[in-house]
């Protein structure tokens, strides 16, 4: 099977437990002598929304770089639907859609040109890409902006275009690195609802990195990263219950600031 065909045909073996969309096991990483990640373990189920919560410098971006093969981890394994990133990088990458922390659109190109470029990076023909682009643009409410230069779009709309771009090749795993930074309330809400919809409707596994506790919802998984270590990994509802049914955002705020709910 081609790595890229694998993007649409990712049926896990039926007789075993469901393969996680993303599995991170005992991953450690250091830049020269500075330890950035230490023994990080967690997984994202297909169709699950996992919130990677951490303050700036907790190691979230490094973790994303390792998952996307920007560089390799010194130790531990990362697998995407069972494809280990070091052994089968091409099969794994074909299954991932990424929204990066920094904007990565070509400002002088039109929305559509940016999207076709991405489709070509996944080996899609223009013929195959066109209906996908139209479908995703319409879903994100951008159908009438496809010929506009990205430069003419607001920050919120640019982020939507980046989300659309990450979805063109129909990835069953979506990674978003602080996607709402700098966006207004409305754009943030739109992005969150759009991505949650993907989990529910398409069974997309989502890893959403943020330092904003109000982006959590009771049905998501929480992975709290501090100084490169996983401090908490539990369903949000479970954390709320342990803390005596207090407000989720308040519980997470406490965990994030003081290490206790």
């Amino acid at each position: 099977m081609s790595a890229i065909e694998a993007a649409t045909v990712y049926t896990p073996a039926a007789d075993t437990a469901p393969v996680p969309a993303l599995s991170v096991e005992s991953v450690s990483h250091a830049f020269s002598s500075r330890q950035v990640l230490a023994d990080v373990t967690f997984s994202v189920p297909p169709g699950g929304f996992t919130l990677l919560l951490g303050l700036n410098g907790a190691g979230k971006t490094t973790l994303f770089s390792l998952i996307t093969r920007l560089y390799y981890s010194a130790s531990g394994t990362i697998s995407v639907y069972g494809h280990e990133i070091r052994r089968e990088p091409l099969a794994a990458l074909a299954l991932i859609g990424v929204v990066f922390q920094q904007p990565t659109l070509d400002l002088d190109l039109s929305v559509e040109q940016n999207l076709f470029y991405h489709a070509s990076l996944h080996g899609m023909s223009r013929h195959a890409a066109r209906p996908r682009i139209e479908e995703e643009l319409a879903r994100a409410g951008l159908a009438d902006r496809r010929r506009d230069k990205v430069r003419q779009l607001s920050g919120g709309l640019r982020r939507r275009v980046e989300l659309v771009r990450a979805l063109i090749h129909n990835p069953p795993l979506l990674l978003l690195d602080e996607p709402t930074v700098g966006l207004d309330v409305q754009s943030r809400r739109f992005l969150l609802e759009h991505v949650r919809g993907l989990c529910a409707e398409r069974g997309t596994g989502v890893l959403w990195a943020t330092h904003l506790v109000d982006e959590a919802s009771p049905d998501c998984q929480i992975v709290l990263l501090r100084h490169g270590c996983v401090e908490t990994a539990a369903p949000a509802a479970e954390l709320v219950r342990q803390a005596g049914n207090r407000n989720l955002a308040a519980v997470l705020e406490g965990l994030l600031r003081e290490g206790k709910p």
């Binding site: 790595a3 830049f31 979230k60 920094q102 002088d108 190109l109 040109q113």
Partner: protein, 269 residues
């Protein structure tokens, strides 16, 4: 395995993006064309009466100075192109779109080649535009030269583009491009056969002559100069090919996720 057609689509997509960016960035478009023309107009006119060029291959008659420096200016177009695409990679890396390229599920060596070929394709278009304008300056190589120079441009473009890739992996910040200008572009251009024939340099200073002899830019220039007159300069071809391979190997290593420079350099959190 990824099918061949998919590689083709990916390559076409990368080239299309490079071309679109080039056309849309009007400043880059104009300056790429104006720079060699300014050199031709000001420099060659000024030195026209100072420097005589005796008959040396591939020329068969005495030639005016502007005819002598034209191939060097062609190579300069490619040098600047290689360096600006290296700048654009540094820029891309700061802005994150190099990451976009790198998370594509194609092998990284292929992605870097696609990026390199896209830059070469753009530089060749620039060169032909320059040659078309230079024709009105009486810089008129034989018609066959215009065809013969194409493969020379491909290989010299690859060499200078690969050098740009290597530099891009060493430069961590955009601001350092000024030092690339000072320490790479200017020395490569001046200590070469682009402006003066090497026998003249040898008379003036043996040490500069030796620097010029090992300078890859000299050989790119000579390869282009001979090709423009329908002749093959085999030693230059061999040297340019060797430098291309060398720069390419370094570039691949530098972008290897296992041991590349990115491993040593932390990204901003």
């Amino acid at each position: 395995m990824i099918r061949l057609a998919q590689y083709g689509r990916c390559l076409a997509g990368v080239i299309r993006r490079e071309a679109l960016r080039w056309v849309h960035q009007h400043g880059r478009f104009v300056s790429a064309l104006v720079r060699p023309l300014v050199w031709l107009l000001i420099f060659a006119t000024g030195f026209h009466f100072v420097l005589g060029v005796s008959i040396i291959p591939p020329y068969e008659t005495y030639i005016p100075y502007e005819v002598y420096i034209a191939p060097g200016l062609v190579a300069m177009i490619q040098l600047f192109n290689g360096m600006t695409s290296s700048l654009s990679i540094v820029y891309d890396r700061e802005m994150g779109s190099m990451r976009l390229l790198m998370v594509s599920p194609f092998p990284r060596g292929f992605l870097l080649s696609a990026k390199l070929l896209a830059g070469v394709a753009v530089s060749i278009v620039q060169v032909y535009m320059f040659l078309a304008i230079a024709w009105f300056w009486d810089i008129a190589p034989p018609p066959v030269g215009y065809l013969a120079v194409l493969p020379a441009l491909v290989i010299s473009g690859l060499m200078l583009g690969a050098l740009g890739l290597v530099l891009s992996s060493f430069i961590s910040q955009l601001e350092n491009f000024a030092s690339v200008m000072n320490f790479v572009i200017f020395p490569m251009f001046f200590a070469s056969s682009a402006l003066y024939p090497l026998w003249r340099v040898k008379e003036a200073s043996p040490s500069v002559y030796w620097i010029s002899e090992v300078n890859p830019f000299t050989h790119a220039t000579e390869l282009i100069r001979f090709a423009l007159y329908g002749r093959l300069n085999a030693p230059s071809l061999a040297i340019v090919a060797a430098y291309t391979a060398l720069f390419w190997i370094i570039a691949i290593r530098a972008y290897d996720p296992g041991r590349g420079l990115a491993v040593r350099r932390p990204v901003a959190e």
